[in-house]
Symmetry: C3
């Protein structure tokens, strides 16, 4: 019996998530459902992709992930399911799986076309309920992914900014803030450096824990998203230093 993990931008106000779970339980009463997040910023595919990337590998083998941030719901964007060596992913084909599938090699990509695995009446505003939830429930019951549609060879790619080399600098940027106001950057590795520049602040070291940081300037730490983060101890770096998405982190490289 597989675990089903849900990530959406449906929010927790309107009952959308509960409805999705009702659908799953109607198809597989023993499904074990875990929420990753339902508070992805509406329509923000990149944010959903980053949160999924940060969390999926902590789930047990066989987990079926349902990732629905889907501004194109009801249009011709394809509903898909992907099998990797360890997991299943069910999502609209809009790039939300890109960052994960750079780390987990897809073994099979299926365009979901077999309507017998959908709800009988489909509303074009809510495929999370009518297509993705029932498909995930059937997968969790052991229906082979191949039966759910026809195999395709590639998916839409998400254009996530990567750090750039410019002169003697490696230049990254803030791509997300977490609830504590930490600024998650797109920098996974920091080579030997002379200094790091964020806005008008110059930083000369990487912290090992949050309280080691200074209170009067931004600090850098390797965070739990798998990227370096900008923080300030016991407070919101976003608010304290007026950080914004896209703010640059310039690493002056050694030598």
């Amino acid at each position: 019996m597989h675990l089903i993990a849900l990530l959406t931008d449906f929010g927790l106000e309107d009952g959308f998530v509960g409805t999705v779970k009702g659908v799953i339980k109607s198809i597989n009463s023993r499904a074990d459902i875990v929420d990753i997040s339902h508070n992805i910023t509406p329509f923000d595919i990149m944010e959903g992709a980053l949160v999924l990337r940060a969390s999926y590998s902590y789930f047990p083998e066989g987990t079926v992930f349902v990732a629905v941030v889907d501004p194109g719901v009801g249009t011709e964007r394809r509903p898909v399911a992907v099998k990797t060596s360890r997991y299943y992913f069910v999502a609209p084909d809009n790039g939300i799986l890109s960052p994960v599938l750079k780390k987990e090699k897809p073994e099979k990509i299926i365009h979901l076309t077999e309507e017998r695995f959908f709800l009988q009446r489909i509303n074009e505003t809510f495929h999370g309920r009518d297509i993705f939830a029932p498909v995930a429930a059937h997968l969790s019951r052991g229906v082979p992914i191949e039966e759910m549609g026809r195999e395709i060879s590639s998916l839409v790619e998400l254009d996530i900014p990567v750090p750039q080399k410019e002169g003697g600098y490696l230049v990254g940027q803030i791509i997300k803030f977490d609830r504590f106001g930490n600024g998650i950057t797109n920098i996974e590795e920091i080579p030997p450096f002379e200094e790091i520049v964020i806005k008008n602040y110059r930083i000369d070291r990487i912290c090992r824990n949050f309280l080691e940081g200074d209170s009067d300037r931004p600090n850098i730490i390797r965070g739990s998203f798998g990227f370096y983060e900008v923080f300030v101890p016991r407070a919101s770096a976003k608010e304290k230093f007026g950080l914004k998405l896209g703010d640059l982190i310039k690493i002056k490289l050694k030598g």
Copy 2:
């Protein structure tokens, strides 16, 4: 073993929902609990009723629904349980079940009076914890609803506005906004029409998906709540057009 689905205005900050679940698990350790929503606007019985109506039918037969938006907690308003052919509903008798029970015929309505199915000490500010949760847990264990109190014949009715015919128009209104800023109306069916008027905008068609809509005016689609909705592609119609609860949708009928 029945599923228990929870809908409340308790919020997710204070631990109220966790406490309710602890009570359920103490009575039925194998209860399977699903959240519909706990972020109903405080005291907003109609919103709770609409969200319950939109979601309940997607749950498996036998589900026990607990719906607690309860400004009258501790007063003489009655705690009740209702059995329909497919489901159980546990709630304060304040109208929150009205819209559902227009669609699901009640077979038995019980005024919950048997205190042996409540917690032993009852605080008059939290019947969700002390009355509704334990009753639902006992129902999920198979205790017959008849044992839980005395049968009554009717419940408080909720006064939900319905669309009105005025001259050559059918006039509905916005009764809720969802998290995406879509305006849910009280219009379930739209007859053949010449045009639809919302504020100063004139609309000549019903969209089939969100991206088909225009960006510079409100659009109409049949939404997942079972009502027509006012939307704008990839943005909040509420914010973009300054929509408010009660705003009118005037449908100029043909012929």
Copy 3:
């Protein structure tokens, strides 16, 4: 098989909670996980402690509580696990367990040092994922708490304000607001009194339910947190009377 109940300040936006659950399910696929709250104000140990205190006793015997509000994550503050006659508690040693352990006598306090019960790679920003979740999962599988580290004799105490006698008054204060805008005080018992003073309002009775209160002044009721609360019917006392944390409640004692 034990229940695991989670209380954190991780929020529901970033996937932190989902990741914690993935870790638990990877170690104990049959763990039954219940959320108490993840919306504790960031870094607010006292709020977390109060919410845990209000809810824990409603859970079944054997429940493993994980309470992580942890501004000192990654520093030398100790990760601990506590066994009482009925429950287990896993938390950073920063006072978050103080109010509970005044009510539940600890039988064993363990400083978590056995790294074989942690994740293999530990990020110093996320012990909820890397230390507390796996330890709780192992406890829920029946691993004896003694194996997880060395016994210690005491924990950090939280300095929660208690009501003071001043002249003929018992003086308490507001220590938390709940989602409805009720002001939770630190007063557990109110002796016979002449009047109660909140700001410029004088109150002469304790209400038994919310609707019994007056609409034009603060009212007092014994609330579900186990403390007396300041409220106003069907509205937010916090907003209506401009209440703040620390506002005093002065009880003029009889005789």
